[in-house]
Symmetry: D2
Subunit: 447 residues, 4 copies
């Protein structure tokens, strides 16, 4: 289930300010627990950390001047606390720096966003597992370099996408867990305002927010975020591969699969016969966009000294955007895969339409094992040379005495029996589907 | 002056729909002029092409299904026309395809957006021209590989930024002009619905919208847009170079320039002494982001056949985003450059602080012309070896008999007179400033 | 014809050192002309600027330590000059900095490389012009979003590629001309060693090398190179679009075009029937690579102060690589396009294979003009619903009384006559071909 | 220690062909073990899989035509086998496709290359651990947004780099292990030539080569390689952050660290005083280049159907290049870090040079705890306003009666005692150093 908050809202201003306030509340509680501030002071601060009382428009406006959103948010928080207890206001944000609040808020948002992504990913995985099983033995043309090559099954093709997605999901979980650490360092990362209490307070803030405790503040060490970004982008790339395959199979001339129908879905403004693969278009557009966004996250990592100038600010829009683009692609993928129209008859007809050329490798292997490579090449080459619209490879070989000399009619029948040339396809499709079902049995639990 | 519409609004949904309607109106007028539809029909269509009557929320919703925003917009237009004249509705969008409307709308938006960018660019150029002249002869440390190198002037440094911006502005104008062409091709680009009238109608639509007429429809030929994108990104990169220089000069230890002050601008949440270069941060963040966006525009160019699947859709967000990021950077740059605090005294003190090492090249050249390269190396090397906090290069050389043997006191004075080692700096700063003033005398006129 | 030096050699070490020596020779000549050094000294220096006497391996080794190749090259040059005339050695490289030599050498290499690229580009343009004319009226299926859409001609499709390439070629020429400027600034760009002679000497060096004279040194202003890079990358992207189209048309199920045959070309290690489109593979691989390389050139532009740290060094490999990748793609494209096998019969059969659906738009337009949009939608929708393997759209409409009521048999014949639905295709293909021939009549002349 | 083969050689043609032959030998052995071919046949094949007898130049040439290097290599292998035993030649490469050989060879190369990278990474980690400990308590100016901020220690700064590198190393090891899987799928991935034996033979080939066994062939599922690529790039980015910091600290005006000296290292062609940070330049250049290369690996992932067209070919150069660039950066980093000249005295002087402004936050916190935030702001603001070249913050406060009213002289002394404002810096530096030593105790063992 997606969280009640939509994915767009996760990265919205309100959610960011909520995260900043969650940080400030946790900091107050932790500071009170460690004796840095009084419990009563913490209570007042915590009581005011509710986003509903804040003027978001003013925060947005003042952030332009201050350089970030935490500064005006803390100003408002301080004013609200002071209205209740003047002296308590002094202890708002005590010991922390604005980046502590912003980064921790980001980590909280990331947790929600990646959970939302995982929901879609799990849906796609479950649907693909069903498809892989259903079509484990459905023969189709295997294609290499966009040329007909040798037979395979649709379930095997699906298993390829699925297997990659299982790896991505495992990596994304690791990346999310690694990135789910609190940020707390103070002005230059060493928490000097807390004297020797810094580490205990950090641990307490982390515990309050159910986040991990890093070895040290990561104000300018952004590898965990980059790791999330590159993993999200790579997952989108695999979706791009899947959408590319689907779009190619959905070409009018191939027509082996079709995106699910829907009222008004994929229509043209002028061509009444069209049903455009608009889900694939969205996924492919995402796959075009994400490499550049991931590269930007890598480019932004060389942040200066204790806090950076430019690199950090670049992250603010790029990481959310990357995740939103990915989420959009995943939602479309879940829809497409769940309702994909698979035309097994057309797949079979397309095998026939190769005029037997798709069995050329099998014939060649068989011939080689009987007459050696050179002679095999000669026979198969001659036959292929005669194949055309009217003459199939089978017919060309049947009329070749050299072929009859080494194979019986039954043997030749077997060479052109597609079910005998599918190798591991069915077994693999079923095996991967089983692994996939186990994977999605454990949908990632939110923080 | 910026257009009354803000740059964000230029790429907003309302503006896109307005552009689509402008296209439909122009198409109706042109079709009537060429006799394809009746003048009365065109009048009705044109009368309904006013965005105020359209339900934008519903367009956004239906675009998800249809795959683009033109389809539901045209549906609404048709319904509105039909409400006035049932039979006229038939001729709405006649002969065109949805991409014709969307691309033409984009071109109209681009015109506005690039004009807005040019306004900021011209402001920066004018301010830099003043700075270049004002500080044409202000000596400062020239730095290479982040090491003190030899003297230069601040005006010369400014002239370097300025000169590059003049080139960018010229290229941007070319790119904008080249991209300002109508899109009209119908389903597959050949305008088959218009029979042999296609070219005349295209020309008429272009003229209505004050756009150029391309050789043919460019549904999947996106080089003009990529050219705009890479030019915008390159311009941002030059701004990034400038912001990088300014941020480095603004370091506490160098302190030769400072971003303009402003109430609350660049303050820290805890450090009272801070005035952070947040304008530079914004520009540098833009410079980190734009290469990835430009690369995405290039990656999206391999669009399939007569209309693409994914590449086109990727452009929809990437190109506007690139321009918005650029515009934000330009606005900050205009503010920074206009009010830049330049501390010529500190520049002079920083020259002194090199303890004369910054004159080492000049001394070396002078020595070489008197005693040859080997002997010169020996003398200058010995002197440099003695330079430290207390001993300047001048002092070290003064106490070296070999030096006294070849140079008089006056000559040595001249070697350490910064004004004699500035070469073309002043002349160049003034020359480039003059060229810049001429350039901005002609601010780009909007379409 | 390519230049006698292969494109790989253009960017090889020997060529770089040759360029550095050409710079040093030109600098010596110009300095003598302006009276900075004696004519006899210049003669000796020039006489030693021949790459054949240099130890390239040692230059490569020492460049690792020195940080660039100019420093050890100048050391060797100085030693060689000293061997002839000890005192002349003093004046080697006088007034210049190592980046002056390296950048000028790069500009010289770029001139050769871009000329080599233009040769291939012109070949492709000439071949495409022939194809566009030959097939100006060859009907084929037009495809949008990878779905059959409406008829077009192959010549028109070719004209689309061609038209874009003409624009790229014009932009590349501009970019090359703009980048063909000498680099000469000395340590920090102001040519201080030359006093007030700097500008005259720069002009003289530029003239010697037949390069342009920039407003000022561009040690850290790299927009001209970035402009070359993005234009090369964009051209590759258009080649990628063309290769993508060709590869899609060459799919076994479509088979409308095929890469030229050649002994051993595109064979498989096991599948005897294969002829893989390996030229397209190379071009598409180039199109995948170039956006990242262009983005890197943009990222490298924020170079520090008077000479940069990292950004400049990044260019050294990235710009040559980008151009080599492009050249490889262009050579493959020239081969493919020159010998492209076009199967006009298959194109015609593929139109038939749509069962008339490809005429649905034309029928729809015709119906709308007679019976209005609503009624037209109903009739065409009903007919399309009946189309299947056995029933064509024509047959479905023929058996619909509503159709017969409004169209005569001749009119219906016309609706399904492909030649009547090609619009501007033929005219455009011929027009663009003519423009292309004019363009290549003037092959870029080398420097 | 690096492997006996240099990193360049790892990705050289000879190494690639060696890998292909290792694959073919392992396939022959595995096929014999599973009874697919005779043991004697396998022996002959294995005996010829020695790269020394192969004509590499001819392979390179023919690969241009064939589309990859495996095809001509297998031709030569077959010819060599046939020369020994005509009939055995038939079984060379039996059941496999050329991509099986090429991808497996790549995986073998990757193992070597990543081991070489790990050697350098471990060296850097060990050196940084020493630096972190040695300077755990060495005070320096902490800087945020390139402005002096608050005190920290150099060891703490080093610990930040180190901590990130430990994470990268762990991720790289995971990525390498995940990617170390055999490729064996035959023409379309299902190993149809082996009937039901495919999986056992795959397992045997994997075991022969000490590689893992994937769930299925990954001809067009490239996420494991992309994962290696993005992790390598991210590691380079962290090196870039370190080099950026070092270069900034090495600025003439800051001069807190310096790259190790070396004869001729970092000299200028004309400025005798220069010692350029050329190691940082190389690392920063690498950091500029790797995001684009990583993005390209992501862009190349959308490979078509059972074997791709363009994406796969793009990997061939991009992945090796990325790793070579990274390796070069790591080698420079190891050199720099190992011999880094750290000037603790200058660090101390730079603290003094802030005129006490660096203690403003500490004073502010102390004041707030005594007089509340508003009054504290007033006092510190007034004092900061008086700070200039002659008046330190301490002096300004000493002369402010409000200050004396709340703090004793001893307390004020403490506020300006840098050792009291370092927080967790020392403890953290030591803790991270210990973890680092444990990490490098286990240098990755090669395959």
């Amino acid at each position: 289930m997606t969280s009640p908050r939509s994915i767009d809202a996760v990265f919205g201003l309100e959610s960011r300010i909520e995260g900043i306030l969650a940080f400030e509340a946790a900091l107050a509680r932790a500071s009170a627990r460690e004796g840095v501030i009084a419990a009563a002071v913490a209570d007042v601060i915590v009581s005011q950390c509710n986003v509903s009382g804040f003027d978001l428009a003013s925060i947005a406006r003042e952030a332009e001047l201050a350089g970030n959103e935490a500064i005006p948010t803390i100003d408002q928080l301080r004013a609200r606390v002071a209205a209740v207890d003047e002296s308590a206001a002094n202890w708002v944000h005590w010991g922390a720096t604005s980046q502590d609040a912003i980064d921790t808020a980001l980590v909280l948002q990331l947790g929600d966003a990646l959970a939302a992504i995982d929901v879609e990913l799990a849906r796609v995985i479950a649907s693909l597992a069903s498809l892989a099983e259903l079509h484990a033995a459905t023969p189709m043309v295997g294609r290499t370099l966009l040329q007909e090559a040798a037979p395979t099954t649709f379930g095997f093709k699906v298993a390829g996408w699925l297997d990659a997605l299982l790896r991505h999901r495992a990596r994304l979980t690791l990346a999310r867990d690694e990135a789910s650490v609190v940020q707390l360092g103070g002005a230059v990362g060493n928490l000097s305002a807390f004297g020797s209490n810094g580490r205990r307070i950090s641990a307490a803030v982390a515990a309050e927010l159910r986040l991990g405790l890093p070895d040290l503040a990561w104000h300018t060490h952004r590898d965990r975020l980059a790791n999330v970004a590159t993993n999200v982008a790579a997952t989108v790339a695999t979706f791009g591969k899947m959408a590319h395959d689907i779009a190619l199979l959905a070409q009018s001339e191939i027509a082996e699969v079709r995106e699910p129908a829907g009222a008004g879905r994929g229509r043209s403004s002028t061509m009444p016969q069209k049903r455009n693969p608009i889900g694939c278009a969205t996924i492919l557009a995402a796959a075009v966009r994400t490499p550049g966004l991931a590269a930007t996250m890598l480019s932004s990592m060389a942040q200066e000294h204790e806090r950076g100038l430019g690199g950090w600010q670049a992250e603010w829009t790029v990481l959310p955007e990357l995740i939103l683009v990915a989420h959009g692609a995943f939602v479309h993928a879940a829809f497409i895969v769940d309702g994909l129209e698979v035309d097994a008859n057309r797949m079979a007809r397309n095998i026939v339409a190769t005029n037997g050329r798709i069995f050329a490798e099998a014939v060649s292997f068989a011939l080689r094992s009987r007459v050696g490579r050179a002679r095999a090449s000669e026979i198969i080459g001659r036959a292929l040379g005669r194949v055309n619209k009217e003459i199939t490879l089978r017919a060309a070989l049947d009329s070749d005495a050299a072929m009859a000399a080494v194979f019986s009619g039954d043997e030749i029948d077997a060479l052109f029996d597609v079910s005998r040339h599918l190798g591991l396809a069915e077994e693999t499709a079923r095996r991967v589907a089983v692994a996939a079902r186990q994977s999605v049995a454990s949908v990632a639990t939110p923080r």
